[in-house]
Symmetry: C2
Subunit: 359 residues, 2 copies
């Protein structure tokens, strides 16, 4: 190697594009490779969806305040979310796990207990894995396989102009939960007798420590015969994900700040920390809600669905990607992306992110 280019030069998405741009698919059974929430494989009647996620201690979780049972649960939920984001049903996972010998059997039991609980909840089988020792921290890698009929699969590059933009649940809470945990950790480090004070913030903590994948939304789509035109799960913040759909679909968008669903506890925590709750929703990450587009004629159906908010509409690519603020101004959306490889991190941006080759 004669050259040395720092990883930060290319940035998150540039790096992955750079490394994967030469891929040439060889197998007819590979319908879709890198470039969405999951790959799509063709092995018969049902199509197979595959996605993978890696969680690294010190980057994605902090064992100071993350119970291992919650971590096991979350590891499955975030993977299941990628399959739901394709409008599919997760069916199997494999788990690769590296731990140092500082871990106890009981600790791993807790981790597996959470993992099994999530498997039970989402109807997933753990079908294989690899357990190894690590010289340093814990490393969790899960691959999830799911299924869907071909006509039901929803990609992220198929949104059209003049369609509704919708999200499930509420946004920014997981990020605020993380900020609260980090604050209480600092308090704790300053005074060992201090007890963390989480009263009134149970919801945002749960959103951070034990997120759920939106199986219920995908089920409702099926029951109500709704097929989104494009869909993605919100792991890196609303702005980043909406930009993915727009860029991949060749369209623009206009969303309305006042329509973005944000929980009361998220607002309250943001106020306490002098942060802007909308910024947290746009850039916070780890919400694992579904962002999707749908034809205008589904408006009544969608607004009648519990937990769905219509937050804007798509438009021509030439009109750009904008948010109309509460005071009527417009503001161009920017995907913050993931800055772990950068030397500086923008204020208010979660450290707790990762790049996915599935964007």
């Amino acid at each position: 190697m004669s050259n040395y280019t720092e990883l930060s030069t290319l940035g998150e998405f540039g790096l992955i594009d750079h490394l994967t741009k030469t891929i040439r698919l060889q197998n007819p059974s590979t319908l879709k490779g890198i470039g969405d929430d999951a790959a799509v494989l063709d092995y018969g009647n049902k199509k197979i969806l595959v996605s993978t996620d890696m969680l690294i201690q010190g980057i994605h979780f902090d064992l100071t305040y993350t119970p291992l049972k919650h971590l096991g649960y979350k590891s499955v939920a975030v993977n299941a979310s990628d399959i739901y984001a394709m409008n599919g049903i997760p069916k199997q996972i494999t788990l690769s796990l590296a731990v140092s010998n500082h871990f106890s059997v009981e600790g791993l039991e807790e981790f597996y207990a959470g993992l099994y609980l999530a498997c039970e909840k989402y109807g997933i089988d753990l079908v294989g894995g690899d357990t190894t020792s690590s010289k340093t921290g814990m490393c969790i890698s899960i691959t999830v396989l799911g299924e869907a009929d071909e006509q039901d699969i929803v990609y992220r590059n198929t949104a059209k102009e003049n369609q509704l933009i919708c999200v499930s649940g509420d946004l920014g809470a997981a990020y605020m939960g993380l900020q609260l945990l980090e604050r209480e950790k600092l308090v704790f480090q300053g005074d060992e007798n201090a007890q963390p004070d989480f009263a009134g913030y149970e919801y945002i903590l749960e959103r951070q420590l034990k997120p759920e994948a939106r199986k219920d939304i995908v089920q409702q789509f099926k029951e109500k015969n709704i097929l989104p035109t494009a869909m993605i799960d919100i792991s890196d913040g609303l702005a980043s994900e909406i930009m993915h759909i727009c860029k991949d679909s060749g369209i623009g968008c206009n969303i309305y700040e006042e329509k973005i669903p944000i929980d009361y506890q998220t607002f309250k925590m943001a106020e306490e920390l002098n942060m802007n709750a909308t910024v947290c929703a746009l850039s916070g990450g780890e919400d694992y809600e579904l962002l999707f587009t749908a034809p205008l004629e589904h408006y009544d159906l969608l607004t009648a669905m519990p937990g769905i908010s219509v937050i804007g509409h798509t438009c021509k690519a030439s009109e750009g990607c904008y948010m109309t603020t509460r005071d009527g101004n417009t503001f161009e959306l920017k995907a913050q992306g993931w800055q772990n490889f950068s030397s500086t991190t923008a204020a208010g941006e979660s450290e707790n992110k990762k790049a996915k080759e599935d964007r």
Copy 2:
């Protein structure tokens, strides 16, 4: 957690059994979960094989002497090997990769170049992944998907008494290559001007740094219409793998030391290091050769196949698992397994091992 049991208490296999014994499979499409080289899924005409492997810096590889291109190649090969060990054909992989920002773009390019080279060689598509930063070392997790017709899949628990035991290639070379690399690393650390001396040992180095999966053997099985009765790939040493087949199939075995295929360079290196080459073949690991059983009537067919050695035969479980040495003594086989979690490591045993839930 009120209790604290050290991981070493249960040992490698005990730990995994302990953590996975309660698994209840939920999906009809899951034909086979944990317990073989790969899981078997049913999604239509072909069956799907899934396997996963994690490689951790400092445990499975040492970047002091491992070129990143070789590492990328090896990461794919060891996963492909698990699918060949089921008599299947690998088709897709997902890659999760964690690297610190000490890595350069050129370094990752080298890694991917090796990965793509192996994908090309084995006809595999990279269909997804996750790239993240790491605070410490490099962590590679690959999941491989393969296919096979149901009647062609070879498990490890289906060997019968009075059958042939065969291996492909030769054994112990990868372990000797590792010992050589470790020795030259020490020399180098002692004197910075010293150049490592690998002359005459190119083969064992290549077996360690750039192993191949035995695609050719599986192809030959198909061409010659041979269906092994049980099969496993040799990642943890011959003794450990033969014990897996015997235990899972409820049989015993007798193998002959003089029949175990060992390369001249392996013998030479072992002699230089005052080690026993047979012990290296039995317990060294990372050979990625195929160990299989076959009916006695295939003897002529198998001995005529290039690169296949018949090393013994199966017998009743009550007769145990033995090796007949060159001098005519018998010696009970012991699976050394993986001792990374133990506080002490047996002399002559590779540090370079991992536990797989697929045993």
